[in-house]
Amino acid sequence: MNSPGRPVLKPVLLFTGLYLALAVCGAVIRGNREFILYIGVMLVVIPAICFVHRRYPLTRGLLWAFSIWGLMHMAGGLMPIPDAWSREGSHAVLYNWWLIPKRFKFDQLTHICGITITTWLVWHLLNYSLRSPGGAPVRPTPGILTLCVAAGMGFGAFNEVVEFTATRLFADTNVGGYVNTGWDLVANFAGALIAVLFIRWGKPAQH
């Protein structure tokens, strides 16, 4: 799978597999069946990233970013927090923890990170696939960056639809209602904008 010049996937997969195994063991010991939902997302994302990496070699940074985002996702849904910590709702898990009381949750931080990475991935893919009229690589022009933001936001919206579907399939999913969705979308938008700043003023990769 790893040709010369292509970042090695094995350490990232090992790290990801390790925290997934720990998360599943922890959830089973505590009798928490919600892990099925969270691991389900990972079982879709991991093969998808591997497939994309095989076709359009991802950078080392992008691979590790996705793995760390997966860690945030698993910990957010399954890691319990002490009762003393300020949280929203009845589930005492990391996702409901107020990083800034009543203003900013761990859930929103995960959304920001997820969409930042996804928008970065979209730029990466467009960079591989699109060419300017003269055949030169596409540059991070306002048009292309708008496209990246739109694509990132699109994935975020898709995630909300998946979350909604989960509420229909599972009884108690810890997925919020209208206002929570609104803040998730704001976080997604912020994530896409952060990614654009990185893309616009980031350093070109040395392949």
Partner: protein, 241 residues
């Protein structure tokens, strides 16, 4: 800036479609004026029409710079007409139930098992169904995307603009508050309104793009080559952080 040859080609194509576009513009203007007379909630009507203004500007720009097909103009026209109908009555109060009762004596909602006024949901679905094709044409001409990307990007854009619209709706409801805010958001008490709206727009866009792909598969000779080419890797110019 649009390159001069493309602008000339746009002018030539649009000149051919000029009578069609003029007819649609005239009918839409007349409909908008008629439906603007005594709408059910004037403030909501104004608020809902705010977004039509930038759309009109975009359409004028498209007419000047991009070769847009007759089908695209017609699809945009149908969507805008449906929108004007919705804002005349207010989306959550469009009396389709009364119209259906007058026609058939039955209940449309009962027939479909609906327990709310779903005109807004139908419009969200139509947003994807009717506008995905014109958006694809914009991508096709403006960004020169082909193959896979010319189907994926319009779908993704439909979902992202749906998400942005939900944010605008929510922000407007927070700013205006009271009855106007509630009317504008139009959740009708459904906490999953945003997700359902986005899902319906995506479903509409997916149907439109699959239909487009099937038509192209049948009539476009280089369809398979275009897909393969669009997924081919070019030397990377990535940015690392």
């Amino acid at each position: 800036m649009t390159p001069e040859p493309q602008r000339r080609s746009a002018a030539a194509v649009n000149a051919k479609h000029r009578p069609h576009v003029l007819w649609l513009t005239g009918i839409f203007a007349m409909l908008a004026i008629l439906l603007g007379i005594a709408p059910w909630h004037r403030q909501d009507w104004v608020l809902e029409n705010v977004l039509v203004v930038p759309v009109i500007f975009i359409l004028v720009a498209i007419y000047r710079y991009l070769p847009f097909s007759r089908l695209s103009w017609s699809l945009v026209f149908v969507f805008l007409c449906l929108h004007e109908l919705g804002v005349h009555y207010t989306y959550s109060e469009v009396p389709y139930e009364a119209w259906w009762h007058a026609l058939t004596g039955g209940s449309f909602n009962a027939m479909l098992g609906w327990d709310r006024n779903n005109f807004d949901r139908v419009i969200h679905f139509c947003y994807g169904l009717l506008l995905a094709y014109p958006v694809r044409e914009i991508f096709f001409h403006l960004a020169r995307v082909r193959g896979f990307w010319s189907y994926f990007l319009p779908l993704d854009l439909t979902m992202s603009t749906s998400a942005l619209y939900e944010l605008i709706e929510w922000a407007a409801a927070e700013v205006f508050g009271g009855d106007l805010g509630v009317t504008y958001v139009g959740t009708q008490g459904d906490p999953w309104d945003a997700q359902k709206d986005m899902a319906l727009a995506a479903a509409g866009a997916l149907i439109a793009l699959i239909a487009t792909a099937l038509v192209n598969l049948k009539y476009q000779r280089d369809f398979a080559r275009e897909w393969t080419d669009s997924l081919r890797i070019h030397p990377p110019q990535d940015f690392q952080t």
